[in-house]
Symmetry: C2
């Protein structure tokens, strides 16, 4: 038996009652630790809350050793695979379900909130979002910009764009890429809203198609669902200057002003930089 259990977004208490019951019934628990990770949902806090040991499942474990390490055990034991957010935010877990079914393992999915729906907290209507884009950390020679065309299309259609920001957890060092047995990893990195805006503007500067600029209105969201959630509405220029604190961050590039509903505007006003700074005082 394999349970794939969404943990939601805030802390260890964002698991559902159904999910917690499944966890309690499991012989083995894995925590997927590379597609998403949250400050409030750390292995030790979960272990304390569940009263059970948890094994961390990094990218290598899930993508290359899934059959051996996870699925073989699920043939005879009750295995729980814990995923931050909802189980189907990331492609990999779909893949795991397919493989498990091929091995005749019973799979049960327990859903939870993900940033894909919780982003609605900023007051923008989920029905007004176009395709979601992902921003990855640029390197000197690798600056993938496929997000640009997608944002362009969304804005042309009067839609908001949710930008998911890169996280790098347990990335092998360059040395380690050559000698995998070394198992040396770079420190985890989480893209900030500030970095995301820099990348966005860098690509606009290169492509020059006028999709957005420093004055384009966005909503920054940090730690959605957590006690210290931070949601601020302002221009790219304004949001780039703010301190967003701990991960995880996401960014919404709003539809052009004329396409924003008045109710959305009322809500955004509450989150404006001005009001945000006033509340902070």
């Amino acid at each position: 038996m394999l349970y794939i259990i969404g943990l939601g977004l805030g802390d260890e208490k964002d698991i559902t009652v159904k999910g917690l019951e499944a966890v309690k019934s499991c012989d083995v628990l894995f925590l997927e630790s590379y597609t998403s990770i949250l400050p409030g949902i750390k292995k030790d806090r979960l272990e304390e809350f569940y009263g059970k040991k948890i094994e961390e499942a990094d990218r290598y474990c899930v993508e290359s050793e899934c059959e051996k390490v996870i699925l073989e055990r699920a043939k005879t034991q009750c295995v729980g695979f814990l995923v931050v957010g909802d189980p189907f935010g990331a492609t990999t877990h779909t893949d795991m379900v397919i493989r498990a079914r091929e091995m005749n393992i019973q799979v049960e999915v327990i859903h939870n909130a993900s940033i894909m729906n919780a982003v609605g907290v900023c007051g923008l209507q989920l029905y007004q979002f176009g395709i979601t884009v992902s921003l990855v950390f640029f390197t000197e020679n690798w600056k993938p910009d496929s997000f640009y065309d997608k944002i362009k299309k969304n804005r042309e259609c009067g839609l908001h764009t949710l930008c998911l920001l890169d996280i790098k957890v347990k990335e092998p060092t360059e040395e380690c890429l050559l000698k995998p047995h070394l198992k040396k990893y770079m420190p985890p990195r989480f893209m900030t809203i500030n970095q995301a805006i820099d990348e966005l503007l860098e690509i606009e500067h290169l492509r020059k198609e006028g999709v957005y600029n420093e004055d384009t209105y966005c909503v920054g969201l940090a730690r959605v669902g957590a006690q210290d959630q931070q949601v601020v509405y302002g221009t790219m220029k304004e949001l780039r200057e703010l301190d967003w604190g701990e991960p995880l961050h996401s960014l919404v590039i709003c539809a052009p002003d004329k396409d924003i509903h008045f109710l959305e505007k009322e809500h955004l006003e509450f989150y404006s930089v001005k009001n945000y700074l006033k509340r902070k005082q």
Copy 2:
């Protein structure tokens, strides 16, 4: 204090641990009963599980009497407003947050799964969905078809479309529209996948822009997150012939075949009509 608490999608145990703690601390509980409703999440089952009374909040209560009935009480008491799915699936609840803040009431939102992210269970990637559309019950003289242009755009862009299907709960009868004090309501109606496909094809037949047809591949999803969840992949023609059982139903119109990732295809194959009928035997 106002808690807006998402109940998730399956049954009373899909509330989060955090949500359940909030419920326990509340003096008054309302269940929003008109934007969504699920067979597994009914007032009496929730009351039994929580050990508390719940008041039903219909459209009139939430839209017209919100201040008086809900927010006034939240000034001095701890009020829980329960919403099936995630709190921000529907515009109305955004509006309630704005009004509460204007009245200086502290608001806390507790997220949960909604169909907007749980639809990922069918194996289609959430990042490959365009704008979501809503289908409403046609009447003889009112056949709103704004979904058609949106589906067209999504398919042109190689994207899937999630179609949310109408529900009508506590709709006043025609007699009652003239004499509101009568408080007579029509029986609740939930659009089935079969009805949705009929409406879609009716509009294609009228508009003739070749956006989709009987042979277009879709995924039908009924009761996502519940024990008896039903997910089937097939053409509109095939899916229209199936019995989908109890509400709630949703429908995904897939991107054109060439735009579907091979991993998505592998997963869809598992849900194909052929395999579905085989499993049912």
